[in-house]
Amino acid sequence: MKNSYDCKTCFDLLLDYLEGELDDDKRSKIEEHLKTCGPCINYFQTYEKTTKLLKTLKEQEATVPKATQERIKYFVMREIHLNES
């Protein structure tokens, strides 16, 4: 039995690998493959960087025009009154 996976299998297991959800056997087969596979090393690193980049996504800077705030206030007050009556 092979002690290392191919690139496709490593790709399929990548999320579980990063989540720490793989058993020792699967993890070591991935790590064995990563020792010698340049494309997989690059893919794993760039995939991980993507997740880190996503963490930097902040709340969007946006203004809410006065007219929108007025519409929201009108909607909220109307719903409250409807609920109460």
Partner: protein
């Protein structure tokens, strides 16, 4: 009242419980902008975001009796906004979402299971996104172009940091399906931003 003016949380809670119009007015002025910013991560359509925002305010006010006094108000409101955005997007899936083929964004493998195309390393680091607004917009646009069933689990996991279990329960999916969607969504975003990250453009 000035938009930036902070009002005491206790007074706000008291006013909201009484459904006091002046308090509600000030409350909407104070929190419209930050809540809108949270919601725009889930949909870039301003009309949809506005609808989610008004529902969020209504829910916050109607649920104010369940708020645990003494704890900070903002994280509680933020969670309500996120849950509301999820519910809204599940009910009103935008039509244009259907045109994107995520298969095109996954790597292609040979019959021997090897990468068919070269995979390049990135010269830029995630921290560089702060220095590069073009990359920031590309990241946001890549997320927004994902179909909603991929966008939601991706944001909840990678932006909000929810666990896979929490996400599966929130969007009512089995955990393996949630994982597959996050994996494909990440691969898609990775592909979209590669051209910026490879060359440090």
């Amino acid at each position: 009242m000035k938009e930036e003016e902070e009002i005491s949380q206790d007074l706000v809670l008291e006013g909201l419980k009484k459904k006091d119009p002046v308090t509600i007015d000030g409350f909407i002025r104070q929190f419209s902008r930050p809540l809108f910013g949270v919601i725009l991560n889930y949909t870039k359509n301003p009309a949809d975001a506005e609808e989610i925002l008004q529902d969020t305010f209504l829910k916050v006010i109607n649920k104010i009796d369940t708020f645990r006094e003494g704890s900070p108000l903002w994280p509680w409101m933020r969670r309500i906004a996120i849950n509301n955005a999820i519910m809204w997007l599940r009910k009103n899936k935008p039509k244009q979402d259907r045109t994107l083929n995520l298969d095109d964004m996954e790597p292609v493998f040979t019959n021997q299971g090897e990468f068919k195309e070269p995979v390049f390393s990135w010269t830029m680091d995630p921290e560089d996104v702060f220095m590069n607004s073009e990359l920031g917009s590309e990241l946001y646009n890549a997320i927004q172009s994902l179909p909603v069933e991929y966008r939601l689990p991706l944001i909840l996991r990678d932006v909000e940091g929810y666990s896979l279990k929490q996400i599966s329960s929130l969007i009512q999916l089995k955990e393996p399906t949630t994982k597959t969607r996050i994996h494909r969504a990440r691969s898609f975003v990775r592909e979209r931003i590669s051209k910026y990250m490879e060359g440090g453009k």
